[in-house]
Symmetry: C2
Subunit: 333 residues, 2 copies
Amino acid sequence: MRKQEITIYDVAREAKVSMATVSRVVNGNTNVRKDTRDRVMKVINRLHYQPNAVAQGLASKRTTTVGLIVPDLTNLYFAELSKGIDDIALLYKYNIIITSIENRLMREDQAIQGLLNKQVDGVIYMSDSLPEEAVEAFKRTDTPVVLAGTKDNHLEFPSVAIDYQKADTEALNLMYNDGKRNLALVLDNPETVVNTENRIPAYQQFMKEHKLGKGHIYSNIKDHSDGYNLYSQLQKDGVDGVIVTSDVSAVGILTSAIDAGKNVPKDIEIITANATQIASIVRPALTAIRQPLYDIGAVAMRMLTKLMNNEKVDEMQIELPYELLKKQSTSNN
Amino acid sequence: MRKQEITIYDVAREAKVSMATVSRVVNGNTNVRKDTRDRVMKVINRLHYQPNAVAQGLASKRTTTVGLIVPDLTNLYFAELSKGIDDIALLYKYNIIITSIENRLMREDQAIQGLLNKQVDGVIYMSDSLPEEAVEAFKRTDTPVVLAGTKDNHLEFPSVAIDYQKADTEALNLMYNDGKRNLALVLDNPETVVNTENRIPAYQQFMKEHKLGKGHIYSNIKDHSDGYNLYSQLQKDGVDGVIVTSDVSAVGILTSAIDAGKNVPKDIEIITANATQIASIVRPALTAIRQPLYDIGAVAMRMLTKLMNNEKVDEMQIELPYELLKKQSTSNN
DNA sequence: CTGAAAGCGCTAACAC
DNA sequence: GTGTTAGCGCTTTCAG
């Protein structure tokens, strides 16, 4: 709806060439003589011609657009992932259509279908859960998909993530070495693949191996106040060390403990499993499993570019290194 | 690139109608007899037909897509604005193409041009600065634009924001009433319209009216460590009260003060001017100018839908109410 | 209420 | 190297 609808046809006429030639110039095709190229370029600049990406998309069947499916924009975990994706997308000249699915009106499979209808060239899926309908939706298409910061049950889709199981075990071990024996796991969503297939098994195995009983798993602790309110329960249950999957919830537990006159890490140790900048901003700073979120996003997007170009991808399940950042919410003996 | 490329033509053939009729059914045009509509719908469902949005866009010149221009995805200020935008966009069935311009590779006007080439139906601009080239880019087009959480110098564009000047004056007054006399203004970007036209004038006028001298304005304090490092300078300058435009920077100042053994609010009062959830998570909680970020985004997007439909919009410059949330970083006498 | 036909602006064989 | 010509899949007059 530009005021001046300059089309490729206008340029062709003014430059006295065919639209095919203009198209070649626009797309950097080398099969154009230098002087005609220059002539066309001059007209393009004079007329301020800008190719209509929609028409290009229809004709070429490539939209240079990728879809992002993300649960919550205001969760820094996803925001930091997105940043990595965005930077690489820019590098490869892809636009990003973002679809947030936290809203009840939008289901995963609908989000996918919507993106597919827009003819995106690829999709990056960051939602922590991958419902069966979503899997089906992906399978109905040739459009490549990469999971970022999450995995699927059967490793059917390419993904970029960390070794959650190993990370959690290491975190539990840290608290164990600090003398903590009543360790708990605090989950946001208990049904995500990462949790059911990685975090919970890691926790249960650790508890078993160290003969610590069944332990405690708390679910649906998603925001600051959830965490804040959970603390009294943790006290009742005698918990002295927790891994928390939601960053702000970890802060909530921390604040609640301090407000209750407790000492962190003496009375309770806290490790946040999906650290964002928030973990390092609060005091005491939270010991954290630091995932390379930006890199996960960047690598996922890079992988997607390869997939979209039908390039060979040697590794479909990429695992990036994490770091267990020991801060003030554990005593780190 | 779907495996099964069902087109409107396939549906037409199977349903024994013309593609025009299928199109009418798909678009909810009422001029279709009920039984033909049903027949077409049945075929659509059987074939899993999904309209190609790119072809629709080319033919109808509407893409049901809006562009978002945002400086930084990982800044919760923008994330919270985006959430409001996203929810309303979903409601009106618009997709969102997000363009982040913090990257040096992407300038404001390029971002705009890119969105325009994609034939977006409208743009929401959240960047805190609006360079001349960006203004020019917008003027070359009929595509409606709404500024969210920011304003332009000449009120040329529709916008949704708060009264920054009034808010800051109120904040300064709070600290003044607490007995603070060496008040400072800590800016992220000193060149944004909101700062040059609203915050700085408000500050200067307040200082003048209360005969507090020239005061101190600090610039380019953008992240947590900027704020943290600034504190020693604030001490040197004897500052006992600050308004900070970057939320995480405010936390940085807070943490730095506490680490230096100071008392907040006794030694220094801190008010954050662009509060996000972070402001309420830290302890002591930050006194904040709480802007209704979600609402700003939602109202901006709603306004844009009207503009895109050529509906009448009575108010082009919308000002939403803010709240001065008195928390623990001021003594609130 | 339905169909025919002309594009939307561009790309991509295929000729020359 | 360059031009010609079909489409891409859909919407939208315009007839009837």
